[in-house]
Each structure stands twice: as C-alpha cells, then as structure tokens.
C-alpha cells in the first residue's frame, strides 16, 4: 500500500501531509520546493510556512517506484496519479472552493499555474471526472476531504479517514490561521 495526498495546488495538500506524518504515517519528501516559499513583493507572506512536503517529479518515474515507496506517504500532483504503476493506493484527495484556490494562486505566483488556474473555472465537474477515472483503475481507494472542513473540524475529519493514524495527533497540527483565503473574506 502506498499512501498519497493529492489535489490541486493550494488546496491544503501540504497541511494534510504534515498532519498525516504527525499522525503516524511515514512520509517521504524533500525540500527542493522550499526555496520558493517566499514572494519578492511581500516578504511577510510565506505561501507554505511549514514547507511543501513535495517530491521531485522525477521520483514518480522511477522504475522501482513501488518498491521504494511501498508503505510510505507521499504527495502526488493530481496529473501524476493516473500515470502511477499498478499497485494498491490509498489517496487523500484535498478539495477546496475553486475561488479560494484561484485567489491563493494569484497571491503566491500571479503569473503561474496558467492551466490549473483556468481549470478552477470547471473544477466542479472536472474533479469528479478525474476521480471517477482514477477509481476505474481498481487499485486506488480515494478519500476526498474539504480543506475548509479540516480547518473547522479537524478531529472529526481525521476520524473519518480510513488510515492507520492517530487522528488526535494529526488534528493537532492543523493551523487555522494558515487558511488565509476564504470565500467572502479576502
């Protein structure tokens, strides 16, 4: 079994990684993304102050990917999910209001995410379509979870997840103050 956290960027995937690792899963990540954890125009704004918990994309192309990451937790970009080799996957797919995703993207890298920012306009049917396609593989258990729900009721949300974790420890790591772009509040 390989445990994965996925979703659109700026959906709380890094927070989920941090929580699940604290909850007991063995997470694997590197720090290559962390150098971008600051924006020149606003030195006080750190997009992911606790890190990104990502992996270099080349790791997903390793011929021994399954052997290397079996039993581990990694963060996987949503586009890479359908390219993963056949195995058993337990995926936590983060969902967030698309307007909030867009707002967060605009704050972090205004010129970035050309495609995914556009896809937030069709997020409501695109994401279910992506998940349906992935589920049809037959080797992926996908649990969706709303970023806003994790922030508002962390214990309840982590209790719901079918994962070998200590949900109280995981819930403890949620920092509501980092949920900065909320519908109606930015």
């Amino acid at each position: 079994m390989i445990y994965l956290v996925s979703g659109f960027d700026r959906s709380g995937t890094s927070m989920m990684m941090r929580c699940l690792i604290t909850g007991g899963l063995v997470g694997v990540h590197d720090h290559f993304q962390d150098m971008s954890n600051m924006i020149p125009d606003d030195p006080n704004y750190h997009p992911n102050p606790n890190g990104f918990y990502g992996l270099r994309i080349t790791e997903f192309n390793r011929p021994d990917f399954v052997e290397e990451y079996n039993g581990k937790l990694i963060k996987c970009p949503w586009r890479n999910l359908r390219k993963l080799p056949r195995h058993d996957y337990n995926i936590v797919f983060m969902l967030r209001d698309p307007y909030e995703i867009r707002t967060s993207m605009n704050k972090f890298i205004p010129t970035g995410w050309k495609s995914d920012r556009a896809y937030t306009y069709i997020y409501d049917w695109l994401v279910p379509a992506i998940l349906e396609k992935l589920r049809s593989r037959g080797d992926m258990m996908i649990q969706t979870i709303l970023y806003a729900d994790v922030v508002s009721s962390p214990q309840k949300e982590f209790d719901k997840l079918q994962l070998p974790i200590n949900s109280s420890k995981a819930a403890f790591m949620v920092q509501p103050e980092l949920y900065r772009f909320r519908v109606g509040y930015d």
Partner: protein, 135 residues
C-alpha cells in the same frame, strides 16, 4: 485461461531489508520473483501482492495470443481521422479556456461573459474521460 498460483519459497532479513522469495506457477511454467521492503507492511502485504501478480500473469496469458507476428498494416499505425478529430477539437477548446483564464487574470474580461459560459458548457458536454491527458 491458465490459473496461476503463488507460494513463498524463502525469506531473508538482512541489512535492514526483508526479502521475500516467491514462486509463481500455472502448473507448467515456474517464475521466480521477490519482494523487498525496508519497513513493516500491512498484515496481508505478501498475499495481496502475490494475488495481484497472479492476476497479471493470467491477463498476460490472455493477451499474448492476440499479438500477431508480422508486418503491421500501415492503416493500423494511425487512428482514423474521424477518431482523432473530436479530441483535437477538445484540445483546441481547452486552450481557449486557458486563454480566458489569462484574460481574467489581466482584468480584460469578466467571468460572466456569455462566450465563456458557452465554452464551459461545451467542455463539460463534450468531455470524455480519455481526454484527461489533455489537461
């Protein structure tokens, strides 16, 4: 279709790594394989992996006879134009969505523009799961 079975033939724990040797057989052919792990796994890890491999071997047996030896007819190298056209069209419309996204970002269009609504509806109505590689 031949039925494949598996059995564990050996296990070794060395240098912080567990190696489990397996033997798969359909009664005539024997295949040796191994699984390695550096950490504890779920209780049914070996059983599940072995069952999956058996299913793969069985599907391989079914598939292998369908591969024909010899020159591949030219016409089968490319998809018929009528099969490619909808996907190319979809890719083109998807590109327009990205262009709209940029227009919104620059503040030169608004999201309630009628053409944009029409485009979104078209993309949804004409979506096919096989188009996901375009995204």
């Amino acid at each position: 279709m031949s039925k494949w079975t598996a059995k564990v033939t050996n296990k070794t724990l060395k240098d912080g790594q567990l190696r489990v040797d397996l033997e798969y057989s359909d009664g005539q052919t024997f295949i040796r394989d191994s699984m390695n792990t550096k950490s504890g796994q779920e209780k049914n890890w070996v059983v599940n992996e072995a069952n999956r491999r058996c299913q793969e071997l069985e599907s391989l047996d079914t598939f292998a006879p369908t591969v024909e030896i010899g020159e591949i007819p030219t016409e089968s190298k490319v998809l018929p134009v009528q099969d490619l056209a909808p996907k190319k069209l979809y890719a083109s419309e998807l590109k327009k969505l990205r262009q709209w996204g940029e227009a919104f970002r620059h503040g030169i269009a608004v999201t309630d523009h009628a053409s944009f609504s029409t485009l979104k509806k078209w993309l949804q109505d004409n979506f096919d799961p096989d188009y996901l590689d375009l995204f």
